[in-house]
Symmetry: C3
């Protein structure tokens, strides 16, 4: 079997047959970090580094780990061409990591470039890609269509005017939808939180002085997002504090913070928990999906954060993060009336999380293996375990979480192949009939996200 | 390969050959939740829902997760027939979960019904089963004999008069044995604990006023259980508090609780730890097996607990539960003189627990993958890991933990096939000779529990 | 396939081909507990128990777990022959544990004895081995050469005069190198710590009265080790306390301890953290590799510790051990300027640790599956997961950690076969080209440790 050939990640005739049935289904990608502006402008990528490296901290981390100097990764002194060459030279050392597979898949499937990425081929790939990327069918909207993306949801701040989403409706209908991501309104511990309140008030022509002002503005933004086809909110949380806090107590903490007073850790948590419950309430009212991405411990490597900033690499997860005590109050409060999806970043949380979603029935679902779990290994482990405890049919389906358009297809391909591998294995072990596996594969690859999010 | 055919869960000729040697060995099932009264009355099941769904919260959770309304699960407004139809209609959505396999196996092996459970077949299966379940060989005692159950141990409160066990001795000899499960005497934090003290005193004609009265009564019950062939106690514990507490201190806590005074968390733990050590002492004296089922966090979903009560679903486990600090004092105190079996509910505890049982030598054994670990996936993961750290030959063997008689055979079949898969894999990888694997398979499937429990 | 034949642990033609390319590469074993004195004397093993059982607590624990009485394991009342017979008799019950494979491999590969270890063969193996062990080629230095050991690093206290290392330079060149392991200088909580200060002062003719004296002496020892080809330090830590403590604060704690005053837990941790940072600084200056073996909870079984002492078995690891908070300060302080290798003992730490090493780039590497992870199962799990998150090419390569010379070859064979299995699996799934896997295999089996440690 050869690298990335038709058998890639499949484990025999059964899984190959299953994959054959789902490979060409449209893509629904309910969570990613797409650059909506670039997409609405239907831009072309200037070069391969811009398309593959410039916006993707997964690539940066792999390059650092392979010993590439920072100037060839995020430095301003080096050209995109030099960065591509540095990446190609180091690429052998990435083998085994999904980034090695994704980027090869991107080249192969999207650009039709079959060469192995390595020092020897760096120049030829660069030249070929420069030519290909300028072709009309390589405009970003064309790429999205070629990948059969039926729906893709960006991640947006309540500040956002969604003008690019609006523009895209003309050319792409309801394909590109926003997701309501109000982390900055919740992250009261951040130095720029007060400034953010100011900006949010301006955006919505409502000076924010008290907590009720903030809640009113957020509701306006939530309503506004709905007009653009938004069907979900998303929340990035290290620990998912979600205990019940009285509005008056939350309002007092809010006022203290606005007055510039320091908050205790408990006050910070109380405020965050209160807000998370408010966001859940908004989603419950509209029947949106409430997504929690849990467990990212961010910016632990000081040198990166100081030199480059957030989302530069230097993020990880801790298996000691508590899920149960913080989450139970919210899950009980909204029991049966809020579509909830839980994503975990540390595979050690797979078990507790699958048992938790099992306990809370139909409306609480596992999100697919996220971030560092998003690999053949990570997805297979999660699917096999979660299937044994929870129901596969209740999972939320694949989201790419990708920061670059070129890789949507590759991410979903890796998922669909892994899913076919897992289900094919179950059929081959006599654990379910092939016909049932066929339906389950199509359901998780397409039907389920469509039904869950209501696209 | 077809669904549940002869190759089910086996991974090639070696594992098939191993399974062929153990498939027909008698069953020893040292821990389950059998309805002894129904068995002693040699009842027939009225219908398929009573046999498969009515008593099994695994089924309930899967149905909820598949979107079935509660009235079709535990509601009193729906007939058993309606519930069966609701289950059959949803059954496709359970694929991947062991419940999907177990119930199909039950129908196939016990009732001779080969149809796939689904909406289309709901009626035909119901009709067939109504007829079959009334046949003489479907009386519960006959079923037990057909499954070749040599020993099965129920789970019983010290209050129990064991009259049904007594009755069963006439018809089934020493097949059905009680297990001493004194959780209620330990759970001083529960609202009905004081009432339980009252009932326990009445049962044993010994008013319980002081701790020493309770200990005397428990010893009487322990002796009484011994007369019915009991060879083990069992203890359900979230955190296994087992530190050493002076009798006088425990007696003072006991007296405060009896006087209706509120206990601190530490007092509650101290009392529970003291009692657990006392139970261990009773078992050590008689050479019984001391079983701890650790890590169930119960009744987290408030709506279920309030509407249905305990054991309704809504239970899970937390990977953050501490095993080491609480358990070490007991393991050291009873080192070498108490047969101990430790069961964990969260697979994340597999590693620490296997290393712990390794450290404490011959008398401390791993129990097989429990509750949510009890699946092909869960057992395989545990066996492969535990074998690499601890000794497979020292494990305690399979227990079904089942709440329904019809499924004993299926549970043990899944275990025996998984065991054959794991050992066959080891032989195929050259890690042990086939002859050694053959002996180990028969040992774990039958010889080991017989020897460990002394049946 | 037969027990330990050529296909052992390999999963098809691809992995067999990969293994064929690395099986005969020289061995670099950068961490073990070799008896340097015995090696420098080029001793023969008196018998099979001395070679295989006498120094290896892995064997002891397996024997206890299999029910062998302690007198036949560590007792002084039984002869080596009796102990070997006890082990052989119990050996069947070890199947599945890597010790079962390692000892069979040792006999097969080193002594040319093919018999299965069991009761029936105990005598014949003993007789054969007595003859073989006395042959000239069974002298310890010859064994090392036959196993193609290019470099092996012992584990040595700063007290050590390294006379045996010196002697070995004459006969074996730079093959045998010391590793700087100053745990005893750090373990201020141990009762013999003050006595150790005394001994260390004497060794280096520098009375140790203040912290700065200790630091000066440790620097002298560090320099001295360098003369003997030392290229690494090693640190055994339960929790890796590594926060930043001011020198004056550390000096005050030191002085209090020297004055016989009791330290608080926080003081103990502060001192240990300070010292760990100092050791890191020494390594950073010389470009050595800083190795941390994290997570061993030692001597939990009181009966063993009281009767036999440390390293008797009774050690384990706890999945609840915190890695992140303690380690981050050190990793940030030495970011980019200290070659660091992190080893974990509990597989539950694989995920957090792989994500941590990913975050800190090129100079921070994962050590291979250690102690209870050191098995086919443990290594495969780690390699597959770590490869999906971190880079395989950045891992530190195999170390045996072995307490007996006879087993170096078997340990490295098990690793190389497992590595070939993992990489062969990736090639077979189309995740990397065969040529890339070939290079990666040779790199991890030989090139990487050579480059990392600078041998």
């Amino acid at each position: 079997m050869a690298f990335l050939d038709d058998h890639y990640l499949l484990c025999g005739a059964t899984s190959e047959d299953i994959y054959g049935q789902i490979r060409d289904l449209p893509i629904i990608d309910a969570h990613n970090h797409c650059d909506v502006k670039a997409l609405s402008e239907n831009r072309h990528f200037t070069d391969l580094w811009e398309a593959e490296g410039a916006t993707d901290h997964y690539v940066w981390e792999c390059m650092r780990k392979a010993g590439v100097a920072e100037e060839f990764i995020t430095g301003s002194s080096r050209s995109n061409r030099e960065k591509w060459f540095a990446m190609a030279e180091a690429f052998d050392r990435l083998a085994g990591n999904p980034t090695y597979e994704w980027i090869h898949l991107d080249l192969k499937r999207r650009l039709g470039i079959d060469e192995l990425i390595c020092k020897e081929n760096a120049a030829v790939i660069w030249e070929k890609s420069m030519e290909i990327l300028q072709k009309p069918e390589m405009a970003q909207q064309s790429m999205i269509r070629q990948m059969k993306v039926e729906v893709m949801c960006s991640t947006d701040d309540p500040l956002d005017t969604l003008e690019h989403h609006k523009a895209l409706q003309t050319t792409m209908g309801s394909t590109v939808r926003p997701t309501f991501r109000p982390d900055r309104a919740m992250n009261i511990f951040k130095p720029d939180w007060k400034d953010y309140m100011e900006r949010l008030g301006s955006r919505w022509n409502t000076p924010i002085r008290r907590l009720e002002d903030l809640l009113a503005v957020l509701r306006k933004a939530h309503d506004f997002f709905a007009q653009f086809g938004c069907r979900a909110s998303d929340h990035g949380l290290n620990v998912p504090y979600a205990h019940q806090v009285a509005p008056a107590a939350a309002a007092a903490i809010f006022s203290r913070a606005m007055a510039g007073q320091a908050l205790s850790e408990q006050e910070t948590r109380d405020y965050m928990a209160f807000m998370l419950n408010e966001f859940a309430e908004l989603d419950a009212e509209k029947g949106w999906v409430f997504q929690m991405h849990i467990g990212a411990v961010r910016d632990v490597r000081a040198s990166l954060y100081e030199q480059i900033g957030a989302d530069a690499g230097g993020d990880l997860s801790d298996h000691l993060t508590d899920y149960l005590s913080p989450l139970l109050p919210l899950l009980n409060r909204f029991d049966g009336r809020l579509k909830t999806v839980l994503y975990n970043m540390n595979p050690i949380h797979n078990a507790t999380l699958a048992q938790l979603t099992r306990a809370f029935g139909y409306t609480v679902s596992l999100g697919l293996a996220w971030w560092m779990n998003d690999s053949y290994q990570g997805m297979k482990t999660q699917l096999e375990y979660a299937g044994s405890v929870d129901l596969l049919s209740n999972m939320a389906g694949m989201v790419s979480d990708s920061r670059k358009i070129l890789s949507y297809g590759s991410r979903h391909e890796m998922f669909r192949r892994t899913l076919s591998n897992v289900l094919g294995g179950m059929v081959d072990r006599g654990q379910m009939p092939k016909s049932v596996a066929d339906r389950l594969a199509a359901w998780l690859a397409y039907g389920r996200p469509k039904q869950l999010f209501g696209f």
